[in-house]
């Protein structure tokens, strides 16, 4: 007999008693507990939301409004009162886009576009870069400006770029504006990609709003497969290795051995991939469950055979955004513009200053500065089409510098962008000299292997700058790895000491480098699994996520050698 009491007891046993206080906390913003896709709270809320959504599938405005309300709530749970900022900026952007669309005169259109770009970047600039600029200014000119107490609203970098794409595409007459504000707000605030991408382009997304909402069995299979993969990547691999190993080494690299530093660098490479692509996959999967197809954001990037290839596989929605709206806007491979020359020149000038100011201590910084300037110049001086390559490379370098800065306000992100920009330019030159090695042709296995290893290691090297809290720490990690000697006994001890971490890292890399045929086989089997089987698989993944989340962190250990 099932009585209310027994149900109640079962509930209490499994979930504990739910107090009013707790229930309230589910709906109130808490800066310490963000509403991420991999939390139990999100699952619970989504279940309720999704149930109602399924009933609304045949409506239009009711459904849009319903999703908007949930999206705004979702954003409120992540950023509190700043959901108003999202609303405000969407109102302004919508207004400006309407004006641009209706304005017939090109020159006026341009003025409104500039206003909107300035507004958007200004907002992003204030929230994300204000303090960075103040610190830089204070450091350079011994200034004494107070830092502002600024809260960085979650996902501002993403939705700003998304709104900008809408306006620029309207300006370029690639799309028509939405019929009204509700449709526009639905596009900007769509919660799956709201806080961490992928950056959805208006021209990909808007047409889907007007289509009849449909969800096929195949869509659901794809969605669940993405969500399962994303959950494992994000919550199991990435979270566990970062808290138990990578963070510690990058906190105080000098307290760890060369081997630990090297492994932490490899660890970070798989961590950031799993973190970022895992979250993207979940976003794409959740959007798909709602009947919306978002473009893929990562295509096993560490399999790239060149740095150019890498940027076609890593955070694709960002790199295409940057290509279409930044690179092309500043001239692309056609012409040089002031902006295209300004940032690289500033960067190299700064690099030279850094080299000169350190010359008393060591000649290495100056050598690095002069070396990288010379290398950059060579990439176009050696080219047959000098002028065009010069323009292209400057614009490319600008794109990478600013792209680096987009990831965070800090010098290390600029350095990271610069390294990638330089590598892209060098690779272009390389391609000009050895065109036979162009991708696509069936080159021999050894060469492909060699290219992948080189590209991967360059990317890992750049990640050190990306991860380290400052430039000095990055150099410590690199110096420390430089002291690596061959001591298999010591390595064994370390690997055994961090057994779980190293197993997960291995799992992550093996998964990443598996030939695609394996994934498609797995997908094939999953598709054929009956509904209940899929539910059990998904439930098991929930359990893995839960069990990893409650796993205590490994106590710190120092080895003796």
């Amino acid at each position: 007999m099932i009585t209310t009491d027994s149900i109640n007891n079962w509930f209490v046993q499994n979930f504990g008693t739910v107090t009013l206080e707790q229930a309230k906390s589910w709906f109130i913003y808490n800066p310490e507990e963000k509403l991420l896709f991999n939390t139990g709270l999100f699952l619970g809320l989504f279940l309720v939301f999704y149930f109602v959504y399924a009933f609304l599938r045949k409506t239009f405005y009711l459904r849009l409004t319903y999703v908007i309300l949930f999206s705004l709530f979702f954003y409120y749970k992540s950023s509190g009162i700043y959901f108003l900022l999202l609303l405000l900026s969407s109102v302004v952007d919508y207004g400006l886009s309407q004006i641009i669309y209706r304005e017939a005169k090109v020159s006026r259109k341009k003025i409104y576009l500039v206003i909107s770009v300035i507004l958007n970047l200004g907002l992003l600039g204030y929230f994300k870069y204000m303090n960075f600029m103040i610190v830089t200014y204070n450091d350079m000119f011994q200034g004494n400006f107070q830092l502002h107490d600024i809260f960085l609203p979650v996902g501002i970098s993403f939705y700003t770029f998304q709104s900008m794409s809408y306006i620029i595409e309207i300006y370029r007459e690639e799309i028509k504006p939405t019929k009204n504000y509700i449709e526009y707000l639905f596009f900007v605030s769509f919660f799956p990609q709201l806080v961490a991408g992928p950056i959805v382009r208006a021209k990909d997304f808007l047409p889907q709003i007007y289509q009849k909402l449909n969800l096929t069995k195949q869509d659901v299979n794809n969605a669940l497969f993405l969500i399962i993969g994303g959950l494992i990547k994000k919550t199991v691999i990435s979270n566990y290795i970062s808290i138990n190993f990578v963070d510690r080494v990058f906190d105080t690299p000098m307290n760890y051995t060369a081997f630990e530093n090297l492994m932490a660098s490899y660890g970070y490479a798989i961590q950031i991939y799993c973190d970022f692509s895992g979250y993207s996959d979940m976003a794409i999967g959740i959007a798909l469950l709602l009947g919306f197809k978002l473009p893929a954001n990562f295509r096993t990037p560490y399999k790239s055979t060149s740095i150019t290839d890498f940027w076609r596989r890593w955070h694709i929605s960002l790199s295409t955004w940057l290509k279409d709206f930044l690179y092309i806007s500043i001239g692309g491979n056609r012409e040089g513009t002031f902006a295209g020359f300004l940032f690289p020149s500033l960067f190299f000038f700064g690099l030279l200053l850094w080299g000169i100011s350190n010359v008393n201590e060591s000649f290495i910084p100056l050598a690095i500065a002069i070396g990288s300037i010379a290398l950059f110049c060579l990439t176009f001086l050696l080219s047959k089409k000098k002028n065009q390559t010069l323009v292209t490379n400057f614009n490319l370098f600008t794109t990478m510098l600013l792209g680096g800065l987009w990831h965070g306000a800090g010098a290390q992100f600029i350095v990271w962008g610069a390294l990638h920009g330089l590598a892209l330019a060098v690779h272009k030159m390389f391609m000009e000299f050895f065109p036979s090695k162009k991708e696509g042709k069936s080159s021999n296995f050894l060469w492909t292997f060699f290219s992948i290893v080189i590209t991967f290691h360059f990317v890992v090297f750049c990640w050190i700058f990306f991860r380290a809290r400052d430039f000095e720490t990055a150099l410590q990690v690199i110096n420390n790895i430089g002291q690596l000697t061959f001591e298999p006994e010591q390595w064994k001890v370390i690997v055994l000491g961090y057994k779980n971490v190293f197993l997960l890292m291995l799992f992550g890399y093996v998964w990443h480098f598996l030939p695609e045929i394996f994934t498609s086989k797995m997908k094939f089997v999953f598709d054929k699994t009956p509904l209940i089987g899929k539910a059990i698989i998904l439930g098991f993944v929930y359990w893995i996520v839960y069990a990893t989340a409650v796993a205590g962190s490994q106590p710190f250990i120092y080895f003796q050698f």
Partner: protein, 493 residues
């Protein structure tokens, strides 16, 4: 292909998965990763600690301490006047024990009157003070106010040498080192830093090189002096300063011998040891001869128990040259991870350690610094480890029993849940292991420690001013005479 709307099936999968999850949660274990025990022979942890923990698990654990603890918390602690000075009484809860630091405070007072005087502090610690973290901040706070230049005594090799910025040291890989961490019967007795080094590679030179760092009051190496021990054979050492080489011989006649590299301040030097194979080498001291000097004797994995193995005669030899006024014992991090909340074994062991210190450095003041806050994951949340408070209390008990001063680092940094705050703060002040402080946090801790010590000093000056005519007969420090009897004290039962 099926193009029928699949919304409700889709919902069913997600919802059924949730039910499946509840089922899995009931039948599967709670944790996916077993708490793997690392083979302790590869981990830096002191062997005395492992022994004590093993012995402790054999004895019965009484958990009925709650009642007595409540009583203890409010207990009044009255001090006997020493040198006519009596600090106000305290409760166990807020115990600081300034009274037992009087001899140290008096030396500081004398230094304040006569800047040529000297005060020396030995700061023993674990990985919290690795790389001179915390200690360098305590040192610079003291040197800022009382004068003094130099980083104090520095070991030959150290696993944390690379992370130390206050003095840069590099060394050849062929040094033979024995540490009190895991060696019970060293070839020659351990030095004041708990280590002994031998340059017994006959084929290659064994060298160590020091270079001053950039910290304030430590930009030069002042009066670098080598400390070495007793041996039947003689040896040589070549000091290379810039382009000059000074060849000096080592005369290992006494328990502790010193050899000055050069007088005055230099930026860097290198010492090549030649035919010194059996001579115990301890390290170099850098100080300008006046003001406050603080020696950092940090050792990763140390619980503090190994100090009880010190050879008192050798330590007295060190003390004759270095003349310590305060010994700080900052331990605890390494005894938190053993699943025990009953720390009476640790209390007993550390009492022995403190008694050894008293025997080694007669008349010295002793300060115990408690464990800092440390977090562990309980369910899904990082919280203060349940062992922190019991450990802190036991540390307070042996501080009180051995008449030592006490710093409650746990409450000083904010008490319950403070480590989570220090880690999450932006910019962060502690590392993601929720145990160690970073540079920024260490600086804050150094300041907190100095401030508490200094508060006692200011109070001491006030009391000194107001004391009645000094009774000269009472100048013998009470703690000193006690040290012999405490060894047989009833705390051990």
């Amino acid at each position: 292909m099926n193009t029928k709307s699949y919304f409700f099936q889709s919902f069913a999968i997600v919802a059924l998965a949730f039910i499946a999850f509840i089922g899995f949660k009931q039948i599967l274990p709670d944790k996916i990763f077993p708490d793997s025990k690392v083979d302790s022979k590869n981990v830096l942890i002191d062997s005395l600690l492992l022994e004590s923990v093993a012995n402790d698990s054999l004895s019965l654990k009484g958990d009925s301490i709650a009642e007595s603890e409540k009583k203890e918390a409010g207990e009044k602690i009255n001090f006997d006047a020493a040198e006519g000075i009596e600090f106000p009484s305290e409760t166990f809860d807020n115990y600081k024990g300034y009274q037992y630091l009087i001899s140290f405070y008096e030396k500081l007072y004398q230094l304040e009157k006569n800047p040529q005087a000297k005060v020396r502090i030995a700061y023993y610690g674990d990985s919290m003070t690795d790389g001179d973290l915390i200690v360098q901040d305590v040192r610079s706070n003291y040197q800022e106010r009382f004068g003094g230049n130099g980083v104090g005594f520095v070991s030959i090799t150290s696993e944390s040498a690379a992370s130390r910025a206050s003095v840069k040291s590099t060394y050849s890989k062929n040094w033979k080192m024995q540490s009190y961490l895991n060696v019970k019967k060293p070839i020659s007795p351990f030095g004041v830093n708990g280590h002994v080094f031998f340059a017994n590679d006959k084929a290659n030179t064994t060298w160590v090189q020091y270079e001053a760092g950039t910290n304030k009051y430590a930009t030069t190496l002042d009066n670098p002096t080598l400390f070495y021990g007793k041996s039947s054979k003689k040896g040589n050492v070549n000091f290379i300063i810039g382009k000059d080489t000074l060849r000096k011989s080592l005369v290992p006649n006494n328990l502790i011998n010193t050899l000055k590299v050069t007088s005055g301040s230099i930026k860097a030097f290198k010492a090549n040891f030649v035919h010194a194979d059996s001579i115990p080498i301890y390290g170099f001291n850098f100080d300008n001869g006046s003001g406050v000097h603080v020696d950092n004797f940090s050792q990763r994995g140390n619980s503090g128990l190994p100090i009880s193995m010190f050879n008192a005669n050798v330590m007295q030899g060190f003390n004759n040259v270095l003349k310590y006024d305060l010994v700080i014992l900052h331990y605890g991090t390494n005894v938190l991870n053993y699943g025990t909340k009953n720390y009476s074994w640790y209390q007993r062991g550390m009492t022995k350690t403190v008694n050894k210190i008293k025997e080694s450095f007669p008349g010295v003041s002793i300060l115990i610094i408690s464990t800092a806050d440390k977090s562990t994951k309980y369910d899904l949340e990082m919280k203060t480890d349940s062992a922190v408070v019991p450990l802190m209390k036991s540390q307070k008990r042996y501080a009180l029993e051995t008449e030592s001063g006490f710093v409650n680092l746990y409450t000083l940094m904010g008490g319950d849940g403070s480590m989570v705050k220090w880690v999450d703060e932006s910019p962060a002040k502690a590392n993601k292991d929720y145990t160690h402080f970073n540079q920024r946090g260490a600086k804050a801790i150094g300041k907190l420690l100095y401030d508490q010590l200094n508060k006692g000093y200011e109070q001491y000056k006030g009391l000194r001013e107001n004391r009645k005519t000094v009774d000269k007969r009472k100048t013998v420090r009470k703690t000193n005479t006690d040290s012999v009897s405490v060894i047989k004290d009833s705390v051990n039962e």
